[in-house]
């Protein structure tokens, strides 16, 4: 049983993030959501993850959302579609959720020390880390050595994101235009010319 209070609070915040139309508020709520889940991670013995979630989710992501809000409208447009048009989304979500609930019925009980997840590879890391590396933080050991190629990949994900954002935002902006207006400047740059 993990902290029911935390979980319920998470649900409330999540609903709020989706519901509020002011994106500034939503960003802040998003940060709170991240912090709450970081707290949950601490409860679940995942210190590394908690630290990262706090720094990345509550810190960087929120910062990026806020930075974006200086560049775009801060208010989400009121729903254009009437509610009945939301039933496909609700249907998809409902089916997915129902399926997930169905799946959980066979899962090992929460916190069961004899579940496969704890006994197979995981147990080997716990048993071997100190002998193999002489360091106490198993997460670091698994991250940087046992599953090092994953982490290299992760480094490249970050690198890719850096390059991608650089690629997207290092071009000088064009004059903002109103919805759907045809851009003459784009036509010019699009015009082929040089051999």
């Amino acid at each position: 049983m993990i902290d029911i209070g935390l979980l319920i609070f998470l649900v409330v915040v999540a609903v709020a993030v989706i519901h509020v139309r002011n994106l500034f508020t939503a960003s802040m709520l998003f940060a709170i959501y991240s912090l709450l889940s970081a707290g949950l991670f601490v409860v679940l013995d995942a210190g590394d993850v908690a630290l990262t979630e706090a720094a990345v989710g509550a810190g960087i992501s929120t910062l990026l959302f806020l930075a974006t809000l200086t560049l775009v409208d801060r208010e989400e447009a009121p729903a254009i579609k009437p509610w009945r048009h939301h039933w496909p989304a609700l249907l998809v979500v409902g089916i997915t959720g129902a399926f997930l609930v169905y799946a959980t019925l066979d899962l090992p009980q929460f916190g069961d020390p004899n579940s496969p997840a704890q006994t197979h590879v995981g147990a080997q890391y716990i048993a071997n880390t100190y002998e193999d590396m002489g360091i106490p933080n198993m997460v670091a050991a698994v991250l940087a050595s046992y599953r090092s190629i994953d982490t290299l990949g992760e480094g490249f994900v970050i690198f890719t994101a850096g390059l991608a954002v650089y690629a997207l935002l290092s071009v000088p902006p064009r004059r903002r235009r109103k919805n759907g207006a045809h851009d003459k400047a784009a036509e010019k740059t699009g015009e082929k010319s040089h051999e």
Binding site: I18, F65, G111, G180
Partner: protein, 122 residues
């Protein structure tokens, strides 16, 4: 029956969280909001993973005196990676949203419509 409910209550709440996020991604047209909802969705999946690594009576997997039962470090590692992937996606998505805002004057997907029906840029 009560056993089952209690034992899986955590999972179900997490699933509820996931579905709130998932719904936000599909149903909302605002791209900023979409990305936020995507973040919620992913973060909730992370909680599911971390729950799977928890051992009752266990401790943070850092070896120290007086502790012999640890929670599983592997899900932690996976989720560390996934968090980073998540923020990378968010960053790229936001950069795209900024550019879309410049090009179309809005980040409401519903207002832009199907791009294939636009007049062709030469």
């Amino acid at each position: 029956m009560m056993d089952v409910v209690l034992s899986y209550f955590n999972y179900w709440v997490v699933i509820l969280l996931m579905m709130i996020g998932f719904y936000g991604v599909i149903a909302h047209g605002n791209m900023d909001k979409k990305l936020m909802a995507l973040g919620l969705f992913q973060t909730s999946v992370f909680i599911l993973f971390i729950s799977a690594g928890k051992v009752i009576g266990g401790a943070t997997p850092v070896i120290r005196d007086g502790v012999s039962v640890f929670s599983n470090p592997l899900p932690h590692v996976l989720i560390l990676t996934a968090i980073v992937v998540g923020v990378a996606t968010t960053a790229v998505g936001l950069a795209l949203a900024v550019r879309i805002n410049e090009a179309y004057g809005t980040i409401e997907d519903d207002l832009i419509g199907d791009p294939s029906h636009e007049p062709e840029e030469p």
